[in-house]
């Protein structure tokens, strides 16, 4: 029993200490960090790094770009994926099955596999250095897993619901918005959280398609701070905190949904 408690505490410390160090370092100067990397700042807590990073970087712009890209990518992936899931569920024929297989095949192909041809495609379309381009690629890359999760859920909805409303003269669009979507909310919300985390944190696509500062998202900007600030950890960690803040705040309040969403993604992805 004692050993159990001890292990639980050790693991908790392994998570907490690094996070605490990140927070402390972000309110220290570089000199204080070199003098005492792990302790409290000698000259007291200062938010100078936060002010400096907003002055030196177009932080607000990166933040806005990340927000735009994430919101559109998540919303549109959910919209298109739920439409496809509805279609597959309602078709219930070999065509539906083939489409389902076609979409879920995408789960087997990691983004890194198609980065080379995708890059030249984006170049041809003039979609590099464009938030729209990023959103389109994001949607198509997470569509497979979203279709997979949502179809699995919609297939469990009772068929009679749809059949009854067909008799009542409801069209597909009505059935989709009035029946399929409201009843799939638990699955949709879990998928939404999974997608939020994926898109907010994504590095690969911005790295491939964005070179102009005006269109950079937070993870890419953060990566490039490393080149600028080198081992100026106070600045790097200030960036880390700003970039992670929305996810962390959401996690604190929606923990249960996060755990459900991220695990659904893992099990099915």
């Amino acid at each position: 029993m004692l050993f159990r408690k001890f292990s639980l505490i050790v693991y908790a410390l392994l998570i907490l200490i690094p996070l605490l160090v990140v927070m402390l370092t972000s309110v220290k100067t570089l000199q204080e960090t070199f003098a005492n990397p792990l302790g409290f700042p000698e000259g007291g807590i200062k938010f100078d790094n936060y002010i400096a990073i907003f002055q030196e970087q177009t932080m607000a712009g990166y933040f806005l770009n990340s927000t735009i890209v994430t919101l559109f990518s998540v919303t549109l992936t959910l919209l298109f994926a739920s439409m496809i899931a509805y279609g597959i569920t309602r078709l219930n024929s070999w065509i539906g099955n083939i489409l389902f297989i076609l979409f879920t095949l995408g789960m087997m192909v990691p983004a890194q596999v198609i980065m080379v041809p995708l890059y030249s495609l984006m170049l041809d379309f003039g979609l590099t250095n464009s938030l729209v381009g990023l959103i389109l690629v994001n949607i198509s890359s997470t569509l497979p897993i979203a279709v997979f999760i949502l179809t699995g859920f919609m297939k469990t909805l009772p068929k009679e619901l749809f059949e009854a409303s067909t008799i009542d003269g409801a069209g597909n669009w009505q059935m989709y918005t009035k029946i399929a979507i409201p009843l799939s909310l638990p699955s949709l919300s879990a998928t939404a959280i999974f997608l939020f985390v994926m898109h907010w944190n994504d590095l690969l696509y911005p790295l491939l398609f964005i070179t102009d500062n005006a269109y950079k998202t937070l993870p890419l900007a953060l990566l490039e701070f490393q080149g600028q600030y080198s081992t100026n950890y106070p600045m790097l960690f200030t960036g880390v905190i700003i970039a992670s803040a929305p996810m962390v705040i959401a996690y604190v309040f929606l923990q249960r949904f996060f755990v459900a969403g991220m695990t659904a993604g893992a099990v099915k992805g």
Partner: protein
Amino acid sequence: MRTPKSIYLFFLPGLLLYSVFFLYPTVSALFYSFTNWDGFSDAFQFIGIDNYQRAFTADSIFRKTIGNNLKFMFVVVIFQTIVALAFALIMLKNTKTTIFLRALYFFPTILSSVSVAFIWAFIYDPSLGILNRGLSTIGLDFLAQNWLGNANIAIYSLAITQVWFHAGQMLIIFVAGLQAIPQEMYEVAKIEGASKWQTFRQVTWPLLAPSATIVVAYTTIQSFKAFDLVFAMTGGGPNYSTEIIATYIYSVAFEGYQFGYASAISVIFMIIIAFITFLQFKALRSDRVSY
């Protein structure tokens, strides 16, 4: 009952995007893998299977890359699975403490790879880092290392970071799997006087096997796809010692401008992942435990 034809419209937007930005590039990766295209010029030649031949016979870095990927994979799969399972077993009951701790252990999963990379770069920092300072505090100075700069151990340092990053997520999958085991099974085992180990061996393990398969398969795939973390922490260095297949594709294509060859490696990569995913699907199909 017939479904109106309008149903096909529901596939339209998704299918269109998916075809243009996913299916087409996937097929063209295959196409370019038989060419010597540099990625920019209009002209290129078909060179048959030369790229594949080069990957398997002439490219020592690619061989090293596969080796690194396997090292990384084994360490991550073994550590992550053991940690996740052990902690899932001791945190099985839902109490205030276990719910809080599970949420805490899960926390790193929501961070971006770049953030995790910076945190661990600081931990591993040879002079400032927590790790070396901690070791010297407890008198183990001789273990202090340049954790990311030493070509012999850098890949393992990355693997430990990956475990810190994702073990909490796997832990939750195990908890879900374990909680789905009917309580009566344990009562029967108790009545029959089974020892703790016997109970684990006879009751827990067989019913846990499906979630274990999921965790192992998922972790395996994750460790092949760990592009972001490796790219942000070491960029594949020092001296290719942390180059994994995913980062190698990037450097061949975007630093070496050999799109044809990078495509061939991508196809090999795709086959490896597809094979693992296929095993995962097979395991899932035999999975009767619901979450």
